[in-house]
Amino acid sequence: MWCARLIGDLVFCIELTGRHCCSLPRPLSDPMVKPATDRIMIKFVLMVNRQGQTRLSRYYHSVELSRRAALEADVVRYCLSRKKDQCSFVEYKDFKLVYRQYAALYIVVGITDSENELSIYELVHNFVEVLDKYFSRVSELDIMFNLDRVHIILDEMIQNGHIVETNKSRILAPLTTIDKMVDS
């Protein structure tokens, strides 16, 4: 109200200054900070078989449930259309796919352009080696029947789209401890 007296004919001002709500201050953020989605290097990890059936999917950025099936179908189509002697990296929309085939199973990782494709390619193999160690000679059925465990292993390796652990024994440590507790 004071503002109106002070400034005279400023009618707008009364209303505006009179109704400041008590919301918390905005954070002191650097204006240059990129939106969180830009920082996600790995967008998703998929396990798909040659028939196009998804065996495992883990998304590190939000994708609506309804759009996942279409994306997965696309991804499989892309990977199946590639020959053995072709590059293991494919461009898909605004990101890249890195895929690796193990028998009938494809492991596909979606990454942003700034990620190092070859390191992801090897990360996939590291993941498979970890699974191999845990299931002792892993097969597609192991993955299907132990979906929860495979997820737990993957969660130890990748979080928020970043590689957080690659040491095989450390990746498996929490899960084997849980297994022991269940057995006893």
Binding site: S119, L147, T166
Partner: protein, 1103 residues
């Protein structure tokens, strides 16, 4: 490749033997989950799947809600399956949370897992998880703590972070490695979603970095990578630590289990290399710290395994990002060569990617590999081709643009992916517009292909800038006419053919061009054009937008007479259209076609595009508004206030607001005179302005002329054979090994060589420039880099942060106010001679260096190199630490009239072998003076004595467009005694607050101004509470810190004013409200309120 894995997976047993398989041993196949999995495996059609899953979901729903279910974990896994196949199982979300709360260890883990899979980060059910997490964090069972930390680092509601933050922090001191590691990862997550919440624990991050366990250290690197990306300056001191860590990792000091295929912790190495490249970018002294370890990494990675190549790639990228060192660059280039030449396709791809990155800094590297690049262009694998085009795009110049564009268009024709098309079309258009006038016809034809291929998917600014280009024209009227005529000529046959196949955007372009310029073609009757256009209207697939473009074109063309019937018919048809825009256009057409005089006034032919003056404050509406208000209308509320009120009415908003500063802070003051480096910077950085601006500048008056030269040159060169091209001679041995030197070249080979020479033609001349400075590669590299910035916008994105810049001299005439000229400083400026060639002579004359500031191509206003102070020779004897020297001594070199004023800390800017630059800024009442100290630091090798002479330059700075930090970029060029000229680039950051001065106004003046300013921002700030009068105390604190002027304080409100140099006011209205200081800033300058509020926050926080 693990053969074991390969074999076991191939031996996928038939479904019948399901039971006997070892993996399924724990689960009997008769269980519900077993049934589901079997069902899924046997699926043959989508329809079946749907039936199966719907049935399954019903069954789960029934069981899950019955009390005392013992199968909860299995039910969850089944729900996960259903969701994985794309069927929502939202009813189970709440049960997942319950399971995490109540279950046994494994059940709990599955519960948490299901939560992290089902919910996204903003899901409201997540709030229900907070208690469970809290409880588990306090649990004595390590596994439970571990799980809780895992889920927290995956997703957590950010408003609830304070509730668990102390517990997580506590875990940083836990004796177990895994707990510490996970706690660090949880903090990383907090940093990602709410950086301000973890600001106070930065020292704990440091502790994590120094943790004795490598796993914890690795985890902390995620945080550091992030923080360094945002602000590399703040973490330079950590460089030696990162280098030491990398050295230890590379040297195999980690435990064996960190190895992957005998390579020690490869992903950790990659992470470290990324951090180092961020730290060493544009920073010589920091880069020097890491040369050794980079060299070691390059050498260690000899083993032939994919993962070592992945490390090498990162290493090469790092070497080319940091301050260059010639022998490292050589090794890196060789490394890239191995990649590109590798028969392994994945490596080849990575090599191309590396090359694409590297050519931005060093285009001649592409020359070395030209034959490989040509081969890759014809590679059967599209992705290799695509990457090659990306590479070519980066090395495009005026001479090879046609060939490269042709290759791109070829690819476009076979590409089926929409995304690739959009991207490539954008690039082609960018290239075509960059070099348009070389070949008029080529330009129009290329753009035609772009429009027809890009269709309606392409970025809308492509047609816009094309039309802008056509209408604005260039220097020569004749050229303009030719270009336009050619466009018209090429469109007429298209319309006569099958216009139905053309994309809408293209039709719009065509109709505009025809409307505007078809009169240039004399043999063309307007009536014919009109009938062609009318045909477009009748087409079924024409959108109404296109139709309105067509109608506008017709309005411009119709002359009455014979055309009248066509226009009459059309306008009658559309004047009753349901589409209001079309209707409007039809009426316009009708009236204007009948009144030629009016038409000539409204749509004058050949009118130059005028700049529109926009009154953004809408002051012309003031009367209308006040009348409406007087009549009882509700006052206008800006969107943010409406939102605020909405939030308030809903609930207490806990969500912190993001500071809405414009992303692109850049606004370089561009004038024709500025150095090309700055220009290209700005054209790339222009985020908030339309891209068109950049285009216009690139070939504005100056650019046009500049483009011409290479054309002529190219004509003379006459496609030199690659072997003879001058640039290649000096390329070194690696080149000779690749180029086939046999004289009878086979036919296809010859073709390739021809292609090569046309592709790489421009680079040769560029590299010949760089050969001159072989002993001194640094300045060249900077120049090239600047070029790269202009080209690749993606590259710029992670470039310099804020760079509203004033290059000192050229800024002088950009200043929004001229009163600078009255000041002391300016008169000094005027006195300076226009060419400054300062010889810095050292005490005993062993070294001469001529300092000449490059900016001096601007006329009268030259860098104020102060004559009386400039040549000061001092020989302080042997000195080991140049950095310290700078700090200690430079104070005394401050110009006399500035020495009384307070100056900022003298900070070192940059240095090379011969020069050392430092700078500080001094605040004067009506200007900000930048003082640059140029120090000759050449060493005379014999006497081991560092000879120092210092020159001091003074520049007055002003801000044209505000940003939180203002960055000044400049170049010092100088000549060595040998006659080679060198240059050194520097940049200097000044906070906006240095430009803020108090603004003395009366309350009445304040009132009038308040109304007239259009840019505003609002924010709540913290009050200083330790005083009786919180408002006065806070305002005084702000006044002291930011140099504001408090106009008046009444009761709980206060008004404050300040101005940005020279006279750009910003008004601030403060009001105490519920323990906060509600601040409302207004200013006529865009972004100023936002930037100022940022500094206010900072100022109050630092108290």
């Amino acid at each position: 490749m693990s053969d074991v894995v390969e074999k076991t997976l191939t031996a996928l047993p038939s479904l019948l033997s399901l039971d006997s398989h070892p993996g399924s041993a724990k689960l009997s196949s008769t269980s519900k989950l077993g049934n589901l999995i079997r069902g899924i495996t046997e699926l043959t059609s989508k329809h079946e799947e749907e039936k199966l899953i719907q049935h399954e979901l019903l069954a789960i729903k029934e069981q899950v809600s019955s009390p005392n279910t013992t199968m909860m974990k299995e039910l969850m896994v089944r729900s996960i399956y259903c969701e994985m196949l794309g069927y929502e199982a939202s009813f189970s979300y709440i049960h997942a949370i319950k399971l995490a709360q109540q279950g046994t260890v494994l059940e709990k883990r599955v519960g948490y897992l299901a939560v992290s899979l089902f919910l996204n980060e903003s899901h409201e059910l997540l709030l229900l998880l907070v208690n469970t997490v809290l409880k588990d964090l306090q649990s004595t069972n390590l596994i439970e703590v571990c799980m809780a930390l895992t889920v927290v680092s995956q997703m957590f509601p950010k408003d609830m972070i304070p509730a668990i933050l102390p517990l997580v922090e506590e875990k940083l001191n836990h004796p177990k490695e895994i707990i510490r590691r996970k706690a660090v990862l949880a903090l990383y997550k907090f940093y990602l979603i709410a950086p301000n919440q973890v600001q106070h624990i930065h020292n704990k991050f440091r502790k994590a970095l120094c943790d004795k366990d490598p796993g914890v250290m690795t985890a902390s690197l995620h945080i550091y990578l992030q923080m360094i990306q945002e602000n590399p300056e703040a973490y330079k001191d950590l460089t030696p630590s990162f280098v030491t860590i990398l050295k230890q990792v590379v040297g195999g000091k980690l435990p064996m289990d960190f190895n992957y295929h005998t390579v020690p912790a490869p992903w950790l190495q990659i992470q470290l290399l990324r951090i180092l490249s961020l730290l060493g970018k544009n920073d010589q002294s920091t880069s020097e710290v890491m040369y050794e370890v980079l060299d070691e990494s390059l050498q260690r990675a000899e083993m032939n395994h994919n993962i070592t190549y992945a490390i090498l790639y990162e290493c090469v990228k790092c070497i080319y990002t940091i301050h260059p060192k010639s022998d490292l660059l050589e090794k890196a280039a060789k490394c890239i060569g191995n990649f590109v030449l590798s028969p392994k396709i994945n490596l080849k791809y990575l090599g191309l990617k590396a090359l694409t990155y590297v050519v931005q800094q060093d285009p001649k590297l592409a020359l070395q590999h030209q034959m490989t690049i040509i081969e890759c262009l014809d590679h059967p694998d599209l992705i290799i081709k695509r990457e090659t085009l990306e590479l070519l795009f980066r090395i495009t110049n005026g001479q090879n643009v046609t060939v490269i564009v042709e290759k791109m268009l070829e690819f476009l024709c076979i590409s089926e992916d929409d995304h690739t098309t959009i991207d490539l079309v954008g690039k082609v258009a960018e290239l075509a517009e960059k070099y348009p006038l070389k070949y008029n016809e080529w330009f129009i034809e290329t753009m035609n292909t772009v429009f027809s291929l890009g269709g309606d998917m392409m970025q809308p600014d492509i047609p816009n800038s094309f039309l802008k280009l056509l209408s604005e024209g260039f220097d020569s009227v004749e050229e303009d006419r030719k270009l336009r005529l050619f466009a018209v000529n090429s469109y007429i046959p298209l319309l006569r053919g099958e216009p139905g196949k053309l994309p809408q955007r293209f039709l719009q372009v065509i109709s505009w061009v025809l409307g505007e310029y078809s009169h240039l073609r004399e043999d063309l009757e307007p009536a014919e054009v009109l009938s062609l256009l009318a045909k477009l209207l009748d087409m079924k697939n024409s959108s109404s937008e296109t139709k309105s473009w067509v109608l506008m074109a017709m309005t411009k063309l119709c002359k009455g007479g014979a055309d009248a019937s066509v226009t009459q018919e059309v306008s009658e048809t559309y004047s009753s259209s349901l589409d209001t825009v079309l209707r409007q256009r039809a009426h316009e057409l009708q009236y204007l076609s009948q009144d030629p005089e009016l038409r000539a006034r409204v749509l004058p032919r050949g009118a130059k595009p005028e700049t529109l003056e926009v009154d953004s404050s809408l002051s012309f509406l003031d009367r209308f508004v006040s009348e409406a208000l007087a009549a009882g209308a509700a006052p206008y509320k800006p969107p943010h206030q409406r939102q605020e009120e909405l939030d308030q009415s809903k609930a207490l908003s806990l969500e912190p607001y993001g500071l809405s500063l414009p992303i692109s802070m850049s606004s370089c003051s561009i004038t024709d005179r500025q150095s090309p480096t700055l220009l290209s910077m700005s054209s790339g950085l222009s985020g908030d302005t339309l891209k068109l601006d950049g285009i216009k500048r690139v070939w504005g008056r100056e650019g046009y002329l500049a483009q011409r030269e290479p054309v002529e040159e190219a004509a003379q060169v006459e496609v030199p054979s690659p072997i003879q091209s001058p640039g290649r001679q000096g390329e070194g041995d690696s080149l000779h090994s690749q180029t086939p030197t046999q004289t009878p070249t086979p036919e296809p080979e010859q073709e390739k060589q021809q292609l090569a020479s046309s592709l790489f033609v421009g680079l040769a001349s560029q590299s010949s420039v760089s050969l001159m400075g072989k002993s001194e590669p640094m300045p060249q590299r900077f120049r090239r880099k600047a070029k790269g910035q202009g080209l690749g916008s993606s590259f710029i994105a992670n470039e310099q942060i804020s760079s509203s810049l004033i290059s000192p001299p050229s800024a002088v005439d950009n200043l929004l106010c001229n009163n600078l000229l009255d000041s002391n400083n300016a008169s000094e400026l005027a006195e300076q001679t226009s060419q400054l060639s300062q010889s810095l002579t050292t005490a005993n004359g062993t070294c001469h260096a001529e300092a000449e500031l490059t900016e001096s191509d601007t006329k009268g206003c030259n860098p104020a190199l102060r004559r009386d102070n400039c040549v000061v020779a001092a020989g302080p004897g042997p000195h080991n630490d140049p950095g310290r020297l700078t700090e200690v001594c430079l104070d005394s070199y401050l110009p006399a009239e500035l020495s009384g004023l307070s100056h900022s800390e003298i900070a070192p800017l940059c240095a090379n072998q011969s020069l050392n630059l430092s700078a500080c800024h001094v605040q004067k009442e009506d200007s900000l003076i930048l003082v640059v100290f140029i120090m000759n630091s050449s060493e005379s090798a014999i006497q081991q004595i560092r000879l120092v002479s210092i020159t001091v330059g003074q520049y007055s700075l002003t801000v044209k467009r505000p940003a939180v930090h203002v960055e000044v970029v400049g170049t010092v060029s100088y000549q060595l005694p040998a006659g080679t000229s060198q240059s050194l680039q520097f940049s200097y950051k000044v906070p906006l607050t240095s430009f803020i001065r108090p603004f003395v106004v009366s309350t009445e003046e304040y009132g009038t101004m308040w109304l007239s300013f259009s840019h505003d921002t609002k924010q709540n700030l913290t009050l200083i509470n330790d005083n009786q009068e919180p408002l006065t105390a806070t305002l005084n604190a702000l006044k002291k810190k930011l140099q504001l002027h408090v106009v008046e304080v009444i009761g709980m409100e206060g008004i404050v004013a300040c101005r940005l140099l020279q006279d750009l006011p910003c008004l601030m209205h403060c009001r105490v409200n519920a323990g906060w200081l509600a601040v409302w800033l207004r200013s006529p300058v865009p972004d100023l309120p936002d930037c100022l509020i940022y500094h206010c926050q900072r100022a109050l926080q630092s108290l």
